[in-house]
């Protein structure tokens, strides 16, 4: 038993270390030696990686005093999300080590980086709703520091927009969680079941986590932030933190336990729109980071569709869960790889080499769903899922998925072109660690095949028909991309206002002065309030009153007036005393 206790304690320790290590390191950033911390960024993710391997599932630690009801532990979802996130953070940390060397604010960067990391890990571990909320907020707000890190005007703008969306998300989540807690009378996630989720709650949850994912009306922050954030941080943002939103959905809207046709419709429609929207707008974009953001919007849109499908029934839910896991793993790794690749290309003084280009193509086409890549596995699984669900969702597999695949192909090709056209490093660009990129490529290439849970789906993709189904959209996309330059040149003159109405929708206005607007409202109130105030301090009126009082008192001091009042009082008293 002693032995058992010992291992138990080691597991416990590991659990604490998962979020604890980054936090402690973040704390270290605040000391005078804070600048040195940046060297240990990758280390912070190591306990998480170890834990996801060693700590058994369903290990729950209860810390009742912690934030109203502390329950932490790893469950199935956690054991999937944690290693992926940890790995991506590790890569991001690795790439950041070098990137930060010359940055004067590296302590600050490390602080926010580590805090966001802690938040990310923590929310995966959290088993109660407030814990999730706590770490989600920690991550979101810490990421703000990463977005604004460059300190440029664009970064400030991006950060402001980011913060606005974070706040909206937080509030939506707060409301949703309150509603849930009110319904379930507990803070434990496990208790969330169908009756706990009213349509309003569902909508709030959709909004709250959707912001992180970038579902359609709430995507406005993404492009700007991805573009503005330093590459290592953007990697984490796009690879790991996005998943927190998805995980939130999964946690709070437990698929396979909840059926909500209306919710499904909401998710699917908005997801599908996002999938297409991301591609189209991404194509108009000239900045690599932003293109990746739109690609994320599109990809997450697809996942939203899957999630929506999962809401149609219990069985569908179970399947959707698996597909989402596969898809999100695939997408995270691919996006990480793309970001790192982009970072490497951008920071090196020379043009990208052929290997490097190949390295960029791998994750890009994986996103598009090229056979033998993780993307193909994910998409075929999706397709099968859609088919298995039967009407009315068959159209998805036949038409919609290939369409997005074509679109994605075009988009990633556009991205690669943008990266290739890179004019070399500008002054602000710092070198990104190349090894991390290679590592990520390795992961993109191998993970899906080595992953036991996805083995069935992976083996399915090896069928010829599947290969064909996977490859034709890519080819079509490639062909389309060849036509693209003509379109692009024709539109060159109007490059500043592609889809002007959309750009305004994304919050891309140059001055979105939201405090200013509120100020105006407040001022209106103030002015209207002021005019109605009685002006007590008016000097002349006060003086007038003073004079009146003085005169009256003087008159009252005359003997005749005194006599008058004396006599009147006497007579009145006499009659009143009867």
């Amino acid at each position: 038993m002693i032995n058992g206790d010992l291992t138990q304690s080691i597991y416990l320790l590991l659990l604490f270390l998962i979020a604890g290590t980054p936090l402690v390191l973040a704390g270290a950033c605040c000391t005078t030696k804070g600048k040195m911390v940046s060297r240990f960024l990758p280390l912070a993710a190591v306990p998480a990686l170890l834990a996801s391997y060693f700590v058994p599932a369903e290990m729950v630690v209860e810390v009742p005093w912690f934030f109203m009801s502390g329950r932490m532990g790893l469950d199935g979802l956690g054991r999937l999300f944690l290693p992926v996130s940890a790995f991506i953070w590790l890569l991001a940390g690795l790439s950041g080590r070098k990137y930060l060397e010359s940055d004067p604010h590296r302590a600050r960067f490390s602080f926010f980086f580590l805090t966001a990391m802690a938040g990310n890990f923590g929310l995966i571990l959290a088993r109660d709703i407030l814990g999730y909320y706590l770490f989600f907020a920690l991550m979101s707000f810490a990421a703000f520091g990463l977005v604004i890190h460059k300190g440029t005007k664009e970064a400030h703008k991006a950060a402001r927009i980011y913060l606005l969306f974070v706040m909206i998300g937080e509030i939506a989540l707060f409301l949703a969680l309150a509603l849930i807690a009110d319904k379930t009378n507990t803070l434990m996630m496990a208790k969330i079941t169908d009756p706990a989720l009213s349509p309003v709650t569902l909508f709030l949850l959709f909004t709250g986590f959707g912001i992180k994912i970038g579902v359609l009306p709430l995507h406005g922050w993404m492009a700007e932030s991805y573009q503005a954030t330093p590459v290592p941080a953007a990697t984490a943002l796009a690879g790991a933190m996005v998943n927190a939103g998805l995980l939130g959905w999964l946690r709070f809207i437990p698929l396979s336990e909840i059926v909500s046709p209306n919710g499904a419709l909401l998710f699917m429609i908005l997801g599908a729109l996002a999938a297409l929207y991301g591609i189209i707008v991404g194509l108009t974009e000239k900045r690599a980071g932003a293109i990746l953001a739109y690609s994320s919007i599109s990809q997450m849109g697809l996942m939203t569709v899957v999630f929506g499908l999962g809401l149609t029934g219990f069985e569908a839910g179970r399947q959707a869960l698996l597909i989402l896991m596969i898809y999100t793993t695939h997408h995270s790794l691919a996006k990480t790889s793309l970001f790192l690749g982009y970072g490497v290309m951008k920071s090196q003084p020379r043009d990208p080499s052929k290997w490097q280009l190949a390295g960029l193509y791998l994750p890009a086409l994986a996103l598009a769903g090229l056979p033998f890549t993780s993307g193909a596995v994910a998409k075929s699984a999706f397709k099968e899922f859609a088919i298995s669900n039967g009407e009315p969702w068959l159209g998805l597999s036949g038409f919609f998925l290939p369409l997005t695949a074509i679109g994605t192909t075009v988009l990633v090709l556009h991205f690669i072109e943008v990266v290739q056209r890179n004019e070399g490093p500008t002054t602000g660009i710092k070198p990104v660690d190349r090894n991390s990129w290679w590592l990520s490529l390795l992961a993109v290439a191998l993970t899906i095949w080595l992953w036991p849970a996805a083995s069935i789906q992976a083996s399915h993709t090896l069928e010829p028909i599947k290969i064909w189904q996977a490859i034709w959209p890519v080819i079509t996309g490639g062909l389309l991309y060849l036509v693209w330059p003509m379109v692009a040149t024709r539109k060159k003159n109007e490059k500043n206002d592609y889809f002007p109405e959309i750009s305004s929708l994304t919050g891309n206005t140059t001055e979105f002065d939201w405090t200013g607007k509120l100020n105006r409202v407040a001022k209106w109130f103030q002015q209207n309030g002021k005019t109605r105030k009685i002006d007590w301090g008016k000097r002349d009126s006060a003086a007038k009153i003073d004079l009146r009082l003085r005169q009256t008192e003087k008159i009252m001091q005359r003997w005749t007036i005194v006599g008058l009042s004396y006599l009147l009082l006497g007579i009145a008293l006499y009659f009143l005393l009867i």
Partner: protein, 504 residues
Amino acid sequence: MTIFNSSAWIVAPIIIPLIGGLLCFLWRRDTFFIALFISLANLLSVTTLLRQFLLFGPLRYRMGGWEAPLGIALRLHGPALLMLLMTAVSGIGITLYARGYFSFRISALKHNNRHEQQERFFWPLWLMLWTALNALFLSGDIFNLYVTLELVSVSAAALAALSGKPASQIAAFRYLLVSLLGSLSYLLGVVFVYKTYGILDLEMLRQIATPGPGLQMALTLMTLGLLLKTALFPLHFWLPPAHANALAPVSAILSGLVVKGSFFILFTLWFEIFASSITANALDLIGLLGAGAVIWGSLQAIRQQRLKLLVTYSTVAQLGYLFIAFPLTATENISQEVWTAVTFMVMAHSFAKTAMFMAAGTIFLQVGHDRIRDLAGIRKSLPITSFAYAIAGVNLIGLPPSGGFIGKWLLLTAALTSGQWHWSLVIIAGSLLASVYVFRVVSRLFLTPDEAIIQECRPHSPLQEWPALFLAIIALLLGLIAPYFSLILETTEIVANLAPGGGL
């Protein structure tokens, strides 16, 4: 201890200051010590009376051994005892302060024996006034009350004129005339009483007094005279100049004690002796005038530019509260509360106003003026005085736990319980206005001015500062020792008979 059980102690508060006054006039040297000794002896006698009262209840004393309709009786009941106590304590404070005040003036101001002369005459006059007040409170004879009233008037007028400034002479003259008019009105009332009943003793009058034309006129006249002397609102014209222009200790005496004398008589007559003849309408009229006094006095106080005038007008306002209590007695079951309330108001106001005038006097002496505008930062050089002023102000506003608060609380309770809530509005408005005029000054005193303006002018002696603080704190803590006072008030027979009878 038997000596302390002698009923003769009841004359001690009259005789002791009287002897003191005569001696002070005769001796002329060390008058302060005589006065101090007298005030302590007076306190001792009042304390003895208190003890006797608590042991044996109300006292009645036959002057010269003659029974009531023929002789004059003294009577000691709860309210009278409290008034005696109030005068004794205030008196000690005033005595001490006056010493400090005069010695500062004698030593610090250019003079041609003027201040010595003032001090020399202050002591006998003050002790005589004290005698008069004590005699007034103890008197049980309606004509004897007239004599004591005159005694009070003459000595008070003489004191008011003591400062020798032209304005004070004019004011004192006016004061004297008003006092005379008031006394004469009262005397005519007494004449009517005597015509009707052929009796002068209060207790007997209480027993046989029934409503009738003679009593009606008598009450009208006596009330008129006493209202004039108490300076109720439209008849307050004489008070501000007289009180504001007198020497500071004199102002303290006049505002703190003298007006309470005539009010005491009025209250006794209305609610004890002739309670059966009082009508609700008359009570309302008095209440109305009281309300007018509260509002008008406060407004005038707010308007004043000079400290002493401000304090004086606040007296006008505060006296109004005492009259607001009148209509509240109209409800049977709460009249005892009103009696208590009035006693508290009187005592609290007495202490507070005495302290306030002392503080104002000290400020005037130290700074050389009393323009409120230019009083910034006096706290720096006169901390104790400023505190005393502020604490006294707290009393006037009626903030807890001061005696003023207890009084106001009881009045409010009475007003709301009896359904006459309009009076409570006046009371509330009065305290708000009071806070305005109090803080107009306090905020100045407690300001931190530039260093350059602060002049180091330490007061001459602690006697100038501490008595004021002492009295102010007594007023402040009056609320906390309230149970003892209400005990005294409740052990009075009079209280039991306080409720006006069938006349309502």
